[in-house]
Subunit: 152 residues, 2 copies
């Protein structure tokens, strides 16, 4: 079974975000082994460079398999393209790692190291909502592939 | 105070979607008079044309002020552009109506009648999640305008 890692910075404080994450985690269990890796959100008295550096160091240690960074400046695609991408990847890798950066993003080392940079939107979303959006699109990708009626 | 209407098709069944909507509704109350208008989701034994027609008829009756349809094929913009757009609109209209179509979209009459068609993403999101995404972006727009620290 395909392993999917989702690296996120910070945890979900509000119950409704945790419950929406739980809902998609449950649904995804039919299609993949999902592993949500929560990296500690750094503070460092608003020293942004240091925050990015420290968070990125921990993210780097967790990069495994085929790596896709969610990045507002990455390439865009449709849900159908995304589904096809995941389907093709299952032929070449048994593990895919998605990365959602922290509030201030990630360092250039990660940007250069990942296999792909993918953008869902030119708009900025908060990390908690974006985590749910990512899980939903991964779930949708499997549903499109399986030809089920979820995607219209 | 600016009135913002958000027309949606169908209701939020899951508690976590209702609670996330409540959170952004509460936050938005500082900036606008928000009115979420829930149109009944039609079924008609999967007759898609009839569903689109009936839902669109009800949406048309609720179009007021400056109207913006969320449409995957609309124009894209950044959160900063979106904030600027709402700010400029407050000078010409006291009411903005956003429309999230149903599962099968809206008819051409609505597409031609609205003032703008705006796309958040080339990906397809479910109506419940998209409703939260829209509320968050409207809230973010006000936070960007007010220069507060929410937007990074």
């Amino acid at each position: 079974m395909l392993s999917i890692n989702l690296i996120c910075v910070g945890n979900l404080k509000e119950k409704f975000w945790r419950e929406s994450q739980d809902e998609f985690t449950k649904r995804l269990s039919a299609f993949c082994k999902l592993n949500i890796i929560e990296i500690k959100e750094q503070n460092y008295l608003e020293n942004i460079d240091l925050i990015i550096q420290k968070e990125s160091e921990t993210i780097l240690k967790n990069l495994k398999g085929y790596t896709i960074l969610f990045d507002v400046k990455g390439k865009t695609c449709t849900s159908e393209d995304f589904s096809l991408k995941i389907d093709k990847l299952t032929n070449v890798s048994s593990e895919i790692t998605f990365i959602i950066g922290g509030s201030y993003g990630v360092n250039d080392e990660i940007k250069n190291k990942v296999n792909e940079r993918l953008s869902f939107s030119s708009m900025t979303f908060p990390h908690n909502l974006f985590r749910v959006m990512a899980l939903e699109q991964i779930y949708r990708a499997f549903m499109i592939k399986s030809g089920k009626s979820y995607h219209k």
